[in-house]
Symmetry: C3
């Protein structure tokens, strides 16, 4: 008996490096499945992309994970693989009363490090 559901999100990136907010896509899957209290796993099946949850970036005092990655990356020739390894291709979230439990300013960001490309994000949801 399958207790969890596996869904897929398809996106197209347009820049070499780019952040795309996945939060509404993930919430839509949770809503469609009718999950009340549950768990979500997000997986990026790519070696030059990643996923991270943090403060929104469209504000002046945004988190500067991108700048940190540029500063510490040891490989100017192929930075995308090392950046993707550090940011990591996985994230997890919790659902309460049908909603992703998050701070109002938190977002789930897809990190593109070698775009533009067609990308897939795999989402596992269970109650």
């Amino acid at each position: 008996m399958a207790m969890g559901f596996v869904r897929e999100i398809a996106i197209a990136t347009t820049e070499r490096e780019q952040l795309i907010d996945l939060t509404p896509h993930i919430q839509a899957i949770v809503t469609e499945l009718g999950i009340k209290d549950g768990f979500v796993c997000v997986y990026v099946p790519h070696t030059s992309a990643a996923v991270s949850i943090h403060r929104e970036v469209d504000v002046a005092d945004r988190p500067r994970l991108d700048e940190m990655l540029d500063r510490i990356n040891p490989d100017p020739a192929t930075p995308h693989y090392t950046k993707a390894a550090l940011v990591a291709p996985t994230e997890v979230l919790i659902v309460k009363d049908g909603k992703l439990v998050m701070d109002d300013d938190q977002r789930v960001y897809f990190y593109e490090f070698d775009g533009p490309k067609q990308r897939r994000i795999i989402v596992y949801v269970t109650d």
Copy 2:
């Protein structure tokens, strides 16, 4: 049918930057729910705090993740958002025979980067 349980831990931090050991709080939830073999997800719904599992810090040869973050942070004005993004707001654990499977010296640490503040930690547990 809900298979997992969502619980909340409330803490108050007292310093600007501070580590708080969440391990006993999480083990207490697992014990209260009577989970034998299972899975735990820990989520911090804040943009200037995070969670990380590593060696205890009250020893001479402690891990120095805090010092690493100070060294690599690109943003002296608002370091808390970037630090929180890198350490990340999520963790996962496994339960075996009613106990969190961990090394004797491992702890689940809440990372405060912008305290003192009232903070919440959301915990999902399933068998």
Copy 3:
């Protein structure tokens, strides 16, 4: 009623620092349990080892997470604890149609930072 399964992988590392590909071990557990669509959590119960998912390292344009860690580590005396804390002891994966959903070039790597040692990896799998 237990819905998930907890299994253990035992490995022996032979170098001070070493990467070991856990992917076939984890896929073997998923196959043995007959999981079709599901979720996997990998946990390393050690304070000087970790787990990370990224591009394979046996290629010229490999990710250089190891070099990044050497560059940013603040503690030359006991680097293993800080490195293990940053890479982190946990990972999660998704199973679809009986297979781990991954890029062809992605691997789940065990990171040894203080070998050689006997090591355990705990794996939780559910559908």
